[in-house]
Amino acid sequence: MSSPLVECVSVVKSYENGRIRALGGVDLEVEPGEFVAVVGPSGCGKSTLLHLIAALDRPDSGTIRVAGHDLGREPNLDHYRARHVGLIFQLHNLLPTLNALENVQIPMFELRIGTAERRARAQRILELVELSDRERNRPPQLSGGERQRVAVARALANEPPLLLADEPTGSLDSEAGRNVLDLLGRIREERGTTLVLVTHDSDVAARADRIVRMLDGRVDESPAPLAAVANLRPPTLRPIRA
C-alpha cells in the first residue's frame, strides 16, 4: 500500500489570538491519485484546511505532510508551493493585465526555464483546457467559465502532483461549472493528479472518490448519506453566466 500524498495529523488553527478556532484537530489522509471532496457548512474550516495544505498559512499545531514534505519544518514554502501544489480559487484570481497565455506562465518563473519554453509549455496547457484560441485575451475579455479554465491551466503549469480547488465552480453557472469539473476529471484521469476540492455543492461532491464532511473545525466521522450535503450551497452566492 502506497503512503498517502497528503497527511494531516491533529491540525489546529486559530485566528484573532485564539478567539476564533477554525480547525480543532483535523486528521485527514489523501491517497495519490484520489479525488477527495471536502464539504461542510460555511465557517466549518474546510477552506482553512485547504489553505494550510497549500502552505498559504501555518497551523498552530499538528502536522501536515504533503509528498514527503513536513510543512511545519519545510524551510522554503515558496519552493513547495511552486512545485507540489496547484491552487484553484473560487474567484479565478488571474492577473488582470496579463492575457491567458501570460497568466499561465506566471508560476513557471520559479522553474528556471527559458522564455520560449515557458511560452510553449503554457500553449500546450491552454490546448489541454481547450482555450488555445483565447490565449491572447485578458481576463476581462473572457467569460467566467473561461477564466476558471485559465486558472486551472495556471494551477497545472508546473505539473504539481496535487491540485487544491477552493469552490472552483462557486461563481459559475451550472453549465460552466460542469465544464470545469469535466476538465478537472479529465486531467486527473490523464495525469493521475490528486485532487482535493472544497465545495458546498452536492453535485460537485458526488463526482469525488470520497467525501470528507467537516463540522465545527473537525472532520465529521459520523456516517451520513450523500444527501446530507444537498443543502450546503449558500444562498448568497449567485452564479454568473459563462
Binding site: A82, N93, R154
Partner: protein
C-alpha cells in the same frame, strides 16, 4: 513572457502616475546634468587657465577669496624668478571688467617680452611689440563679439587699444578676453608694482612639485596652484559650485526617492492581492521584491534618459544668454551622464526598498484577503 515585459506591463497600467513620476525625477536629473556640465565647464576653464603658456603651476597670494584679488609684488616675482629650477616665470595682472555684453571680460596684463616667450596660439596678426603700451591681442570669441580684427581698435575700461592680433584658446574665459601690456593694465587697475599671479615653468629635469614646495617654503604668504583641485587655495568659486552641485544632487536624490516611494507604495497597495496570488503560485519573496525594485529602477532610468536630454537642452538654453557665453562652456563629459544614471538608479533603489519590503512582508493569505 519575460520578467522585463512583466515589469513594463505593470508600469503601463497606471500611465498617468508613471508619467508624472518620470517627470518629477526627470526634473531632478535635468538639474543634476545641467549643473554637472556647467561645473565641468568651469573646471575646464580653470584648468586651461592654470596651464597657460605651458606653466607647471601658478603662484598667488595665500587666502585670496577670489583669484582676481590676489596680489604678488614685483619683488616677490623677481625673487622667485631667480630661484633654482625656474625656467620661466610670467607675471600677469588679471583685470575682470565688463566689456560689451560680457560682464566677466578678462584683461590680462603681461609684459610683451614675456608673452613672446610663451605666446598664445595666434590665428591672425601678431603679438604686441616690446615697449608698446596700447597694443592688444583679442581672443577669437572676444574678437567675434566685438567684430574686431587686426588693425581695428577696441575700448576696454575706457582705454583704447589697437588690435594687433587674434588668438584662440581652449578655455572660454581666455578666449573671451584679451592680452595687453602689463604697464597699461596696471594703470587701468591702479595697482602699480603688483601682479595677480605668476605662472611658473620648471626647468627640464626639475621636479615641478618640489619646486612649488620650495616656493611655498620660501614665501609663506604665497601659495602654488598646480591643478583645479588646488584652486580652492586662492578662489572659492569652484568650491562653491561643488557645494551647490552636491546640495542639488542630494536634494534631487531625496525628492526623487520620495516620489518613487510614493508611487511604488501606491502600486504595492493596489496590487497587494496580486502579490498574494504570486506568492500562492510559488513566487519567492525575493522575486516579488525584485519585481518592485526593477519597476522602480526602470522608471528612474527612463527619467534619467529624459532628464539627461533636457539637462543638455537646458545648458544649451543657458548658453544663449550673452552674459554667460564669455564665462563658461558646458562640458558634457561621460562622467556627467554616468552620474545621472547612477543617481537615477540609486533613487529607484532607495525609493523602492520600503515598498518592496511591504510587498513581501504580508503572508500570502493576508495578501489574498486584501480587497
Amino acid at each position: 513572457m519575460s520578467f522585463s515585459s512583466l515589469v513594463m506591463r505593470n508600469l503601463f497600467r497606471q500611465r498617468m502616475r508613471t508619467s508624472l513620476t518620470v517627470v518629477g525625477i526627470g526634473v531632478g536629473i535635468t538639474i543634476v546634468v545641467a549643473l554637472g556640465a556647467i561645473t565641468g565647464g568651469l573646471r575646464e576653464t580653470v584648468g586651461g587657465w592654470l596651464r597657460v603658456g605651458g606653466a607647471d603651476f601658478v603662484v598667488a597670494r595665500k587666502g585670496s577669496a577670489d583669484f582676481s584679488f590676489s596680489t604678488v609684488s614685483d619683488r616677490e616675482w623677481r625673487q622667485l624668478d631667480a630661484m633654482d629650477g625656474v625656467e620661466r616665470s610670467t607675471g600677469a595682472l588679471i583685470r575682470v571688467t565688463r566689456h560689451g555684453a560680457n560682464p566677466y571680460f578678462i584683461l590680462m596684463g603681461v609684459r610683451p617680452a614675456d608673452l613672446a616667450e610663451a605666446p598664445p596660439e595666434l590665428v591672425s596678426g601678431r603679438l604686441p611689440r616690446p615697449g608698446s603700451t596700447h597694443e592688444a591681442i583679442l581672443g577669437s570669441r572676444a574678437a567675434a563679439s566685438n567684430d574686431a580684427a587686426p588693425g581695428s581698435t577696441v575700448t576696454i575700461d575706457e582705454e583704447r587699444f589697437r588690435v594687433v592680433g587674434v588668438y584662440r584658446s581652449d578655455d572660454v574665459m581666455t578666449n573671451s578676453g584679451a592680452y595687453a601690456p602689463l604697464r597699461t593694465v596696471r594703470e587701468i587697475a591702479r595697482t602699480p608694482g603688483v601682479v595677480t599671479g605668476v605662472w611658473v615653468e620648471a626647468e627640464t629635469g626639475t621636479d615641478a612639485a618640489a619646486l612649488a614646495s620650495a616656493i611655498e617654503d620660501r614665501f609663506p604668504t604665497l601659495v602654488t596652484v598646480s591643478g583645479v583641485e588646488d584652486f580652492g587655495k586662492v578662489d572659492q568659486g569652484i568650491a562653491i559650485m561643488d557645494a551647490l552641485d552636491l546640495a542639488v544632487t542630494v536634494l534631487a536624490v531625496g525628492v526623487g526617492a520620495i516620489a518613487v516611494m510614493n508611487t511604488m507604495i501606491m502600486a504595492v497597495f493596489e496590487r497587494t492581492r496580486e502579490f498574494g496570488i504570486l506568492r500562492a503560485v510559488g513566487w519567492r519573496g525575493s522575486r516579488i521584491m525584485r519585481l518592485v525594485v526593477t519597476e522602480a529602477v526602470f522608471l528612474c532610468l527612463v527619467a534619467a534618459v529624459f532628464g539627461t536630454v533636457f539637462g543638455v537642452l537646458a545648458t544649451r538654453g543657458v548658453m544663449l544668454i550673452e552674459e554667460v557665453q564669455g564665462l563658461l562652456e558646458p562640458r558634457y563629459t561621460v562622467d556627467v551622464f554616468v552620474r545621472a544614471v547612477l543617481i537615477a538608479a540609486g533613487v529607484g533603489l532607495v525609493g523602492a526598498l520600503y515598498p518592496a519590503y511591504r510587498a513581501v512582508r504580508l503572508s500570502p493569505m493576508e495578501a489574498l484577503r486584501h480587497e
